[in-house]
């Protein structure tokens, strides 16, 4: 489902004509109630270039926003989408979340067969609605319709209208669903504003035709997109925000829930948001006493902050309740103390309030798990969906490693560790009296590291025994933060899966998680497996490493730029005791390769009845031109072959068929 459908609707012809100027009515002059045929939307009228590789063809995606000033807007949308097959069926689904400020005024749809004949009509009464919250509780009602038809190909024409009142931050974001499998034939976005109404707009990842005109006493701004054929399905695509054609538009002045503000810059928006944090930090007496009991005997700022963090993790839990302005304003520290739960905003505010009690200055930080870089000039809370805390080094006692960024909602995240869902993302930090966009730090690729020391004893008749010692650092350790909370059975299952040895017995598991900002997870365990590798009548075929060393088989061609989100290092030192009478077939091996995308190294050396193996692989994060793709292909071919490589042991006493 394209994002846009979550916000947008279309229009009812009657409602529309009553409030719109004549020129705009012409632009949106369709009616779903007349005619039994729309031959212009027959599948045969779609250009071959748009049909190629498309599961969905967006024939028309148009919306018109009629802005009433800071109080709100009405939005009328018409979508005509041809669903070519079952894979594309979700694009016929409809969903919108409304609340007391966003009303769904009308909905109507018709479904056409492949020749453009009307086969089904839908109205608002056909929509289902639910208040079932995505968070623990919120005040939204979701209207939805899924799978309206099943005979492919078919076309659905949807017209909707919504009215936003009580203020807004930004106009609905116009996003073209230009993803693999989706072609777009025509797309138009129009905004009507009062005269002298100031707003900013920006086209991202696209260059649409833009026209500014007048219609009576209204300014009219229109963006039109040329046809776009379905892009290729490829791995390592750029993040959505850097790939999908988008129009952003935000008014300079806004008034949200009766609170006026300005969003011409992120800093201005921050000033508005700061008002929502005022007077949320009062602490009840018992908590004040508890804070002092926990921290008074500690000497450093770091230790005190950590002690309060540990206390918060132990005594609270994450529960998301979003009601009204509460979607932006945190629950007070007092409420969190009384209930011992809160969402990210509430827990961040609670933690800051506790720090304040002992003189540690900390700031509230908004960031986005879905947004790496905030769009410049477009300050809007829709880019953020998470709150954390920053303890600035320059405003507190010297901190050993500079600023501390604290995630407050996870019971497992080590103190000060910036997890991969937000690392490297933009963040809006609320200092005392001003707000500022900063970048959350991200680990260097070299700190995302796994080092394994493995001793394998191969037997010709009995089970293979292994002693394994792994150290996972940085982002490589993230999946293991919760390891200690797994049941013994699940720990064993996890290790068996990571070894790709379903029949193994895992025992003597010992592990530790150390370090806060640079966590290290160390684990030692033993494994015994009746099957390891395979054997023929006189040979044994042993994997290079007991851990599955897989790598994609990449296509040879590339169309889009390359984005590698996470870089890492993996090093395995393996010592293998081989059974008496067996030899290493093929002799010693020494293979290396490396380029800008990373590298790999394989060394196999026989020493007496032992084989010593070194496996290294590293991948670099970053953005690369598609022209550099042959180098990535080369790296992955090396890694794939490395993963498939087997140590072949031949029985010298029985080596003929």
């Amino acid at each position: 489902m394209k994002n846009f459908c979550c916000i947008v609707l279309s229009f009812s012809a009657i409602f529309f004509s009553s409030i719109f100027p004549a020129a705009s009515r012409t632009a949106f002059s369709s009616s779903l109630s007349t005619g039994d045929s729309y031959t212009e939307y027959a599948v045969s009228t779609i250009a071959d270039s748009l049909l190629s590789k498309a599961d969905v063809v967006v024939r028309l995606d148009s919306s018109l926003v009629y802005c009433r000033g800071t109080s709100g807007y009405s939005m009328y949308s018409k979508e005509v989408i041809t669903i070519m097959n079952r894979i594309g069926s979700e694009y016929a689904d409809f969903q919108i979340a409304t609340n007391r400020n966003l009303e769904l005024k009308s909905y109507s749809a018709i479904i056409l067969d492949k020749n453009g004949n009307v086969v089904k009509k839908l109205s608002k009464k056909d929509l289902q609605k639910t208040q079932l919250s995505q968070a623990y509780f919120d005040d939204y009602t979701t209207w939805y319709l899924s799978k309206p038809y099943d005979r492919y190909p078919y076309t659905i024409i949807t017209e909707t209208s919504v009215v936003q009142s009580n203020g807004f931050f930004s106009f609905p974001q116009w996003t073209l669903p230009h993803t693999p499998g989706v072609s777009v034939e025509r797309s138009v976005y129009t905004i009507y504003t009062p005269e002298n109404y100031i707003f900013n707009s920006k086209a991202i990842n696209c260059a649409p035709e833009f026209v500014a005109s007048k219609d009576g006493d209204r300014n009219v701004y229109t963006w039109k997109f040329a046809p776009l054929k379905s892009p290729e399905r490829e791995p390592f695509l750029m993040p959505v925000e850097k790939r999908i054609p988008t129009i952003l538009a935000s008014p300079a002045d806004f008034n949200y829930y009766g609170i006026p503000g300005n969003a011409s810059t992120w800093e201005e928006y921050g000033n508005w948001q700061m008002h929502l944090l005022v007077e949320r930090d009062e602490l009840p007496e018992p908590l004040v006493a508890q804070i002092h009991a926990l921290t008074d005997k500690l000497s450093t700022c770091y230790d005190k902050a950590k002690a309060l963090y540990d206390y918060m993790l132990f005594s609270t839990r994450y529960v998301s309740i979003q009601i009204g302005i509460g979607g932006l304003r945190p629950m007070s520290a007092k409420e969190v103390f009384n209930t011992k739960f809160g969402d990210c905003k509430a827990l961040a505010n609670y933690y800051i309030s506790m720090l304040k009690e002992i003189g540690i200055k900390a700031c509230y930080v908004e960031t986005g798990t879905d947004c790496i870089d905030f769009p410049c000039e477009f300050a809007t809370p829709s880019s953020t969906n998470h709150a954390i805390v920053k303890i600035p080094a320059e405003e507190n006692d010297p901190l050993p490693d500079g600023d501390i960024w604290v995630e407050c909602t996870s019971a497992y995240n080590p103190f000060g560790y910036i997890h991969s869902k937000i690392a490297g993302h933009d963040a809006l930090c609320y200092y005392n009296g001003y707000a500022k966009v900063e970048k959350l730090p991200r680990n260097l690729d070299s700190l995302n590291r796994t080092v394994s020391n493995i001793h394998v004893t191969i037997s010709a008749k009995d089970s293979t025994l292994m002693e394994i010692e792994d150290t996972y650092s940085g982002e490589m350790a993230e999946d293991l933060f919760t390891f200690g909370d797994l049941s013994k059975e699940d720990m064993e299952k996890y290790l068996k899966n990571s070894l790709d040895l379903p029949l193994a017995k895992i025992y003597d598991i010992r592990f530790s998680l150390t370090g806060d900002r640079y966590p290290q997870f160390k684990i030692k365990f033993k494994a015994s497996t009746p099957t390891y590798g395979s054997s023929s009548q006189s040979r044994m075929f042993i994997p290079l490493s007991p851990f599955g060393l897989s790598a994609y088989k990449l296509k040879k061609e590339r169309h889009a730029p390359i984005y590698v989100e996470t870089g890492f290092n993996r090093i395995e030192h393996i010592t293998m005791d081989i059974p008496q009478g067996y030899e290493l077939e093929g002799g010693n091996v020494n293979q290396q390769m490396g380029n800008g995308f990373g590298g790999g190294n394989t060394e196999i050396k026989k020493e007496g009845q032992q084989i010593r193996i070194l496996v290294e692989r590293n991948v670099s994060s970053g953005t690369f031109s598609e022209k550099e793709y042959p180098q990535l292909y080369k790296l992955y071919e090396f890694l794939r072959k490395q993963g498939n490589k087997k140590i072949v042991l031949i029985n010298k006493n029985n080596n003929t068929l």
Partner: protein
Amino acid sequence: MKKIFITIAVLYACISNAFAADDITTDENFKFGKPTATEFSMTSYEGDADADAVILYDNVLIHYIFTSNGDFKQVRECISRIKILKEDGLRFADVSFMLYNSNTLKSVYSGITAYSFNTDANGKTVKTELKKSSIFKEKVDDNYSLIKFTIPEVKVGSLIEYRYKVTTDDIYNIPSLSFQASVPTLYSSAQLYIPEFFRFRKDTWGYYHIDVQQGTDTDQIALGGGSYYTYNIETVKMKAVGIPAMKNEQFIWDSDSYRAHVDFELQSINFPNSQPHYYSHTWGDLFESLAKLWDYESNLKISNPLHDKLAPLLSKAETDEDKMRVALKVVQENIEWNGKFSIFSRNPKSALKEGTGNSADINFLLIAALHDAGLKAIPLLFNPRNRQRLYMYPSLDNINCFIVDVQLDPGKHAFLDATNKYSDINIFNPLLMVDKAFPYGDNSGKNPVNLTSLTSNTIRSTAMVSLNPDEENTFDIKRSTVHTNLAAYLKNNEIEQYGSEEKYIENEKETSVTMPVEEMKVERSSTNVKITSKMSLTFEDDGDMIYLNPLILPYSSIWSPNAQKRVYPVEFQKTGTEEIKTIFAVPEGWEIVDMPKPLRISACNNGINAMYTAALNNNMLQISFSYKLNRVMFTPEEYNDLVIFFKSINDTLNSKIVVRKTN
């Protein structure tokens, strides 16, 4: 079933011992808001060290009240006491339950009370009560609302307790009562007090013992003027002690069928001075109810709305098989399934007009088409495999689907379902292949139909492998695979998932990792799918040796059971045979120096068997592999045999053929 129960009873005894009987809170010693010292001090549960929480006490009380309006209402009171042992157990602090409301039936909740109990630094117990502001109501749809509350002050080590009451006009339904959860349950009980006017059948499910005691009591209705009407009450007291957590296992269609729970179905309503109403007391009653309540007979007897399309095809159909096939085809081509199973049809003809409908809409149309073709066709009723299994006795609540039973010569039947365009005679969605299905109108209910193995389902592959004379280090592989019957149905549907045959082929070409597909051709019908392909295998030049898979072709569809033990049966999707034959022309200058050992293995009374051979004749290596599943269900006692069986096959399939250059 009896054998399984004995095994479980022993397990139950072991688990019960882990928490001393005296420590368990029961109906007799339970006091709301007053957990015991043992419950407070509990930090783990010996019976299941992995448990993230333990349900210490759980009780449901269901009774009926007679209101001043002269109506009965049903009251359900629920109480739970839970110990949180690990972080994941915190989910139990978020409690929710559903309320049903319609124009005619109203439900209200009341009396939500909840506490958390913690110990402070001084060892003193701190009791925190739920505030009303933490109770939320969400309207899920026009009829259902979700009531939610989140208990305050809950952390690892907390003990939580809550109760609530639901009062409803819906007196004819008693909700299913569960005695088993995702965490261990030390004590779970329920008491039901049902006025004599309502008779419910109780169906007990699962692998663990639920003690059920039934008795009678009396109650009175004040008639005014100091007189009373006295009536009997059926009392049902149920309890289960030491029930382990319900854990997920692979290869189970519906884990709820194995969960310890009790279902209730209304059998009769019999008020004084009123005509009694009987519901599904016998199969005859069930069919009668069905016919009356849902206008079933008129659905069964509709004229064929597809007659004009069927008639020309019927004129060419000679045999009953031909007639069935054309009737099926006409329905398949004119209406799409909306993904919903049902026994109710709003109106088959309207659904046809819309071009889409549920399984009942579609199969009623199929019955009409078959009648039009002069064949006798009736619904065959059952529950899909992913819903609760059917008992032998009649229960309308548990029947959610039907397909069509075509009665041919005496004793000869064919089964059809038109919800999928690739179904055929006796070939349809594996979800519908149940072991018990009941023919509509067979009032004895003694002739259930087993649909699990109606056809012989095979996948046969042959491959010719030869050295590519033009490219160094490359073998050419020409492969042909024929999927038959249900295997064809599954392959057809797999291809459908890609949107088109072309996209399927494109995907095969793009995603094949070890053996790039160069050419592929697909020929298919509903009973046969033949795929011929040309692939190339580029081997790494590792000295003078090449190591090939035992089948040379990639193969990965064999299960590797990874659990040490099995509690519930293993349920496979379908019976059938897979055969692979590969012929490898060993090129001049090469020799085979090593091969896997031959394998011939059978397990579970030949419920499953497999074979692998590789033989070298005149430089032609002939490889043969077959794997046959003769039934779909295997008991937990057979699990160990399955583990050994699959280990043997996997050992062989993981082995290598070693080829060496001789010059």
